[in-house]
Assembly symmetry: C2
Homo-oligomer: 572 residues x 2
């Protein structure tokens, strides 16, 4: 791959771009735009921003990602969890619906974009792997609950705030008296309508004669249907005059050119939140990108993805937008609609631009309660109960990390939750690696296989002790090996030879090397020889020239069977 391809992945697929591709992508982009508009308005509201900002964030970022991202199918824009995290972070520094708030959000997008870009350029993509699936699952489920709860205020037409469960419930309870009945009616009606359409619209359409594929696609337009009907209803009955909050005036025209504030103090204060937003966005985006890439036998370069998302967020910051990332539902729609290349994103951006220029009047009477309803119905799908049950059945260790993350996010907040989850996962992993499975093995009669004496009938000899270590050897488990061998040898006083079977030892670090040298010399001081068998190539490369090898009292055998044969022979 030449230099240009590496810098701008778009050049790879652009050069083969045909007219047929263009037509397919344009068709797909129309469908994506229709689905995208209510979502963008809704997520902007979720982040405490004017709805127009959601549309701004769906223009330049899509073009930036199309140029620099590595996925052909991923659709980028505002998503639920990142929007919530943006709102939570910005709330600490400014009041919603003020110029200051928007400035904070833009700075957040800029820092996030810069961080993602630097991570990609320095190939640090692997750091995101520190978020295990159980931790992500717990985090997303708890975030979904927080998002849904946070939207209830729009359904009830009251004020409320808070960035964890307890604060939200408190403020809602406090303001319950100001509930607006009409809003509640619209909100609940929308929730029910959305739910029913989600479940049944596809079958209805197929009953009407559409093919499976067409019905699938069209059923995704459920939210648009509800939004249109609700807007017409509010407009016709002038329900905004009885307390139903509406989107109101959406400034028409191109997105503004905005420069992120150069307030260093504010930037440093926002840094932790920006980093977490970047990591969460990246992790979500890469999962989606990889599942689609597999379907097309393409491959994703996570570090290139970071560059693409970084560019998307930086351009969002420059066009009055807010943090964005690859979204699952919009990517599914894009894929189902037949999008061939990222040009789909470019066409979508153009269509949104046109919407902003000419169609903003259509949003005037759109009730906020309906946008809230679309969010609630969407995020409730994210609550991963099934995932929790599966993890619980497979590994209590992983399940505890999930539960801890879930509870901390819910009761304290998003940032504390992620840090808890990551720390706990790492500690549990280290604990597990510090307690390696070490088995005394013997030979299964008539074969060259060696198995655990506690599980199988095997041949052994009193003067020969063979120990198989099922873990890489490093400082956290080096002493465990020392203790184990000490104990085994003090229990078997006839032993004259000890063989360490290293088939599953993938690495030996400096501490473990010292431990092995110590084990060898301690055994030697009591007249016992130490041997090694089945040492892996890369491990042996490093061991050559070490004191362990030069002072090894015994031999190094290629296979365990050779060791057994050789050492038993000498006993006769």
């Amino acid at each position: 791959m030449n230099r240009l391809n590496r810098l701008i992945p778009a050049s790879v697929w652009l050069k083969d771009y045909t007219r047929a591709d263009m037509q397919t992508d344009m068709m797909a982009s129309i469908i994506v735009t229709i689905m995208l508009i209510p979502q963008s308005l809704a997520y902007a509201m979720l982040a405490g921003l004017p709805p127009a900002v959601g549309l701004y964030a769906s223009i330049l970022p899509l073009i930036a990602y199309a140029l620099f991202g590595s996925s052909r199918t991923l659709a980028v824009g505002p998503v639920a969890v990142v929007s919530m995290m943006t709102g939570t972070a910005a709330l600490q520094f400014a009041t919603p619906n003020t110029g200051e708030y928007l400035a904070v959000v833009i700075l957040l997008a800029a820092i996030s974009g810069l961080f993602l870009l630097l991570m990609g350029l320095f190939k640090l993509g692997f750091l995101a792997n520190l978020l295990s699936h159980p931790v992500i699952s717990g985090f997303i489920s708890a975030s979904a609950i927080l998002i849904a709860l946070g939207q209830i205020k729009h359904i009830l037409g009251i004020q409320a705030s808070g960035h964890n469960l307890i604060e939200m419930l408190e403020t809602m309870w406090h303001n319950l008296g100001t509930t607006n009945i009409t809003t509640v009616g619209i909100g609940f009606g929308a929730i029910i309508a959305l739910h029913l359409l989600r479940k049944h619209l596809k079958s209805i359409l197929m009953g009407l004669g559409l093919s499976d594929h067409q019905a699938q696609l069209a059923s995704k337009a459920g939210p648009v249907l509800v939004v249109v009907i609700a807007t017409l209803t509010v407009a016709a009955l002038q329900l905004n005059n009885v307390g139903v909050k509406i989107v109101g005036d959406v400034p028409s025209g191109l997105p503004p050119l905005t420069l992120p504030s150069l307030d260093i103090d504010l930037a440093l204060n926002l840094l932790p939140a920006a980093i977490l937003i970047s990591i969460v966005g990246f992790v979500e985006s890469v999962s989606v990108a990889q599942s689609f890439a597999a379907k097309r036998r393409q491959s994703i370069d996570p570090n290139q993805e970071l560059v693409g998302l970084g560019a998307a967020n930086l351009s969002s910051a420059l066009s009055g937008g807010f943090p964005v990332t690859g979204g699952f539902s919009r990517s599914v729609v894009s894929f189902d609609a037949g999008a061939k290349t990222p040009m789909t994103g470019v066409f979508t951006a153009i269509l949104i631009l046109l919407t902003l220029s000419f169609l903003t009047g259509a949003f005037y009477y759109l009730p906020k309660a309906v946008l809230a309803a679309t969010i609630i119905v969407a995020v409730v799908q994210l609550i991963d109960l099934k995932g929790f049950i599966e993890v619980w059945r497979y590994s209590k260790q992983d399940a505890s990390a999930l539960i801890a993350t879930f509870l901390v996010v819910l009761l304290i907040g998003v940032e504390a939750g992620i840090i808890t989850g990551v720390s706990l996962s790492l500690l549990l992993f280290l604990w597990h690696a510090s307690h390696p499975h070490i088995a005394v093995v013997g030979r299964v009669a008539g074969t060259e296989h060696f198995r655990n004496v506690e599980r199988f009938q095997v041949e052994t000899m009193n003067e020969l002790l063979t120990v198989r270590i099922d873990e890489s050897l490093f400082f956290a488990n080096a002493r465990v090996l020392e203790d184990n061998i000490s104990t085994l040898v003090s229990k078997n006083k006839e032993v004259k030879d000890v063989v360490l079977m290293c088939t599953a030892v993938n690495m030996i670090d400096a501490s473990a090397l010292e431990s092995l040298e110590m084990i060898c010399s301690r055994l030697k001081s009591t007249g016992i020889k130490m041997h090694l068998s089945e040492v892996k190539g890369p491990v042996m490369d490093r061991l050559k020239g070490s004191n362990l090898i030069s002072h090894l009292s015994g031999n190094i055998y290629l296979t365990q069977n050779q060791a057994f044969e050789d050492l038993c022979q000498n006993k006769g």
Copy 2:
């Protein structure tokens, strides 16, 4: 082992105690006491305490350890590094040589003792394994330098302070004008004498007719010789009148009964230091105990050691002492002197008690410069240059953790150094585990062995891709596997079967399980089957019943060769 044995390990060896054993232990204890007295006075001074406290700390703690510790040979008492850490911690809360300072030190010993005891009772001994050998090496070398530098003020007869290199050098430079020439003469003279005796005394004694063993033992009395000569010189010439600082009045009589202060705030402030002192003390002590245990085919129970050391420190706190632990040099002397059981420690304690009661006058004219000289010569032995070179040759990764710990301890302080070392070691280990070695393998012709296609001439088939994973699969490397397989499959478009060879996969966590399920379904969606081979027993136990197994598109083979045969057959 019955209940009593578990609670009080002493009961195990006490019941077999013979008169011959008693005589041997008594002889050994005399030798140990002679060597111990200057050391205890010196280390008390190192901790900023009156010399008598060093003797107090060598009485009850030895008895406590004899009752509750698990080593037959370990000799417990004040040691260099722990004494330095004690002094550094106490300095932050009180001025040396005041009643308040002593109270802080006693509280430190009490908290440390309690912490060690709880760690032992809750079987948390494995936590100390988080200190890798390179980190310990860097820490001890840097501490040795700090200790030696800290003693130079006694050699020069000036004031100085500081808990890192820079502060020490600054204050010494500042006070250089107050140097006392006589003190310098005594100090340097002592250093040279100690060094020469260390190197040559043994050969001189053997020349005089002593056996190797006797000469070895007697040569350890070098420091005592220097102390005696220096004390006599100062007394005869009344050098204390010309500015040579002396030990002075050592109160004779039993150690006081002291109760640790109940100041909760102070206790909480001291907690971090106490924890580090406990951990460092434990790590040092267990290393020594284990090397001696090996010589006698005994085994050490690290958690029992914690209980023993905890009891020692608690009793130190109750008898006006300071934090103690098992020491290398004193244990070597004890072992060489022929000590059979921990009764040696009890006899030593009694002898020290007698010294305190009747012989304290002998210390009056003992110059502090000589005590400082003994410390300097002793700790310089601790600087582990050889260890550093070995680690550097073996693993740059481990060497970087050593260097980082060394520099941080030297330039910032002990606590920061340990935290840096542990964090860096863990991060490097995780980084390594996150980048697993994954090899495409094929069969070595004429055998049943499978080897890396990049290293060996092997048989492969275009439709069959066998991937061997040399690492446990967990969240930090799960996506690496996904990416790897994605890439391999997108490069080899003819592949119809993928086999994951799991000989070295010691664990699969929930995240990795999900990754494997995703890999399987992505491969399935492009018509490729996924198979597993050589899955370890414990791993298979957990996999049973999981979605991976029920939805596995391919088969599970016991050996890789079976997989190869079966899948190649079908291609014909």
